[in-house]
């Protein structure tokens, strides 16, 4: 508590920046290990799923792209005009 402000600032910098670097280094290591373990032993089922938000649809999954584009546009307009 008797340290000068300058000493406090220096300490804060050294220990602070040190912790940030140590922590993120550990995170790099842990992430690397985790990724290797997951890809090796627990791969996603059925290859990689296209996107989690795409729920399986009942049937007739394919919509003609042009129509879909038209529809998406219509939806956007619909939403804007009904807000």
């Amino acid at each position: 508590m008797q340290e000068t402000l300058l000493q406090q600032g220096t300490d804060l910098m050294i220990y602070g920046m040190g912790t940030v670097i140590v922590f993120l280094t550990l995170l790099v290591i842990a992430t690397g290990v985790m990724s290797r373990v997951m890809l090796r032993y627990f791969p996603d089922p059925v290859a990689i799923e296209p996107k989690k938000e795409r729920r399986p649809s009942a049937a007739g999954d394919q919509v003609e792209p042009r129509i879909q584009k038209v529809i998406e546009e219509a939806i956007r307009k619909h939403r804007n005009s009904h807000k």
Partner: protein, 436 residues
Amino acid sequence: MQNFLRLWHDSGIYHLDMGQGFMMLIGLGLLFLAIRKGFEPLLLVPIGFGCILANIPGAGLSMSAVENALYSGYPEVVAPLAQLLGEQADAGIKALTAAYQQSPAAVQADAYRLATDLGYANGMLYNFYSVAIGSGVAPLVIFMGVGAMTDFGPLLANPKTLFLGAAAQFGIFATVMGAVGLSVTGVIDFSIADAAAIGIIGGADGPTAIYVASVLAPELLGAIAVAAYSYMALVPMIQPPIMRLLTTKEERVIRMEQLRVVSRREKIVFPLILLVLVALILPSAAPLLGMFCFGNLMRECGVVERLSDTAQNALINITTIFLGLSVGSKLAADKFLDPKTLGILVLGIVAFGIGTAMGVLTAKFMNLFVRQKINPLIGSAGVSAVPMAARVSNKLGLEANPQNYLLMHAMGPNVAGVIGSAIAAGVMISIVSSLT
């Protein structure tokens, strides 16, 4: 006639002083920047509006019941409060409010009750501030929402970019030293807590800055938040010159190979890994990073979509509205119009610059060791300012070579910077509370 006088005494013009008028112009200026120039409007519109409200003369919207009672000036109100606070009734408003703020919590509670008995109430913005920021909840909820919006895919595909997110945090600590320097040389008087809170501007992360400032230096919160959000909006102007200065044309055209696809399970496990590391190494960062990881887990786990949606929409929006107004309430003239504010604004932009430079230089340094070269332009994205900084990296990459898309590569250091500043926030709160 008495009523007419009363109305006149109640009117704003009667109370208006220069400072408040000036701060209302500042508020209008923030609104102009937000609306016309697109400066982080989600925060700066509420902050700017809150600033105007906080400076309405005579309304006391940003003051506690006790402060409102003291400001009334009626002797029959001020005297008993002064007595309770252990001051002379004629000690003056400054001394009385200072005495109130330094009183033990029990005395403050008594003063609050006395003020309500005398017919005074907390201002609306004061209540918003207490609930949203004083309790610490709003920045945490925002962080949860940000977590629910963050895709760690690019980071997981190339974890080395975490080092860039670490390096850019040097801006934070360099700024701490800058603030200490200003204080030591007698230019502006900052405590170590002030210095730490100012440094966090260099983290380029709004909720982190507000969280740290609310813990370490609440009276500087307004200026710190405004500086943080303004400079985040200015990233496209602040960063490019520094990036160009520190890189050669050859470095800027480095093509990075496409990122590998990251599996869903990696994305689910990552926030848990991060959480466990925080738990083991730096518990003082647990509130911020815990909520961040929680939001991200809700996003990735795929079984609580409705919670994730709400965290990303209704909940974060509601919180943003009140957080912004609350920050604005700290822009009252008597707190903001202070040489410290100028110091904060100067130090803040220095912090951004140093963070940017360190990110770029570290990328160049890493290239000495790694086989697959990193384009140093993505280093600047390590300051956070998601996703603005990553877009800046992309733009400069395209400038150097129209086929050089760096956006996804820059997202890695970009989100790493968020983690890095939250870690820095935890360290600073932990060390500073041990020092004071």
